[in-house]
Symmetry: C2
């Protein structure tokens, strides 16, 4: 599971980090100020995102600037797109599916 994009995106803090960094590149310290947790905790999240290449880094002196890497996001996008495609195919053969769902009233 190491380096898995789905795993990386599952964590809400990491999603927030992605959104922040996608909007503007940042250093770990700058990022950490946006969260309640410690700098090290944020750094660990960053590391996870770097491991799966959702972030790239650029060291400038003692600072490290992290950037969003859109390429890897595509991988994620791809799964959903494929899934949606599949599921929209199903819509074309709605027949059985709808019949079953409609005869199902004991559930909700």
């Amino acid at each position: 599971m190491k380096g898995d994009i789905f795993q990386a995106i599952a964590d809400p803090t990491r999603r927030a980090i992605l959104v922040l960094i996608a909007a503007q590149s940042m250093t770990p310290n700058a990022l950490a100020e946006h969260f309640d947790t410690s700098r090290q905790a944020v750094s660990k999240h960053i590391q996870v995102l770097v491991d799966c290449e959702l972030l790239t880094q650029n060291k400038v002196g003692r600072e490290i600037h992290y950037y969003f890497n859109p390429v890897k996001m595509k991988e994620f996008d791809h799964w959903l797109t494929q899934f949606k495609k599949h599921w929209e195919d199903r819509f074309n053969q709605l027949d059985q599916l709808l019949i079953n769902l409609n005869s199902n009233s004991d559930e909700n």
Copy 2:
């Protein structure tokens, strides 16, 4: 984190379950045959997917048929769409971003 779609989709087994059930509704037993793990393990995954409403169930006698619920998938889709939108906006102001990325050669 209970009932979180991102969390639900993070697990590869659950993604496989979603794909299988989206293709065709299934009972837990039928599903379990597709995996190496025990029926109970699969059932737990199903429960997670039901909790976040990615699956709905229809009890028929002693069998329970699970169906894919496309509605909730939208929620997931929404985040990605918003994110992509944001990130594509950035592309329109590529200037600074590209300058920074290009001056970054010590990383790869």
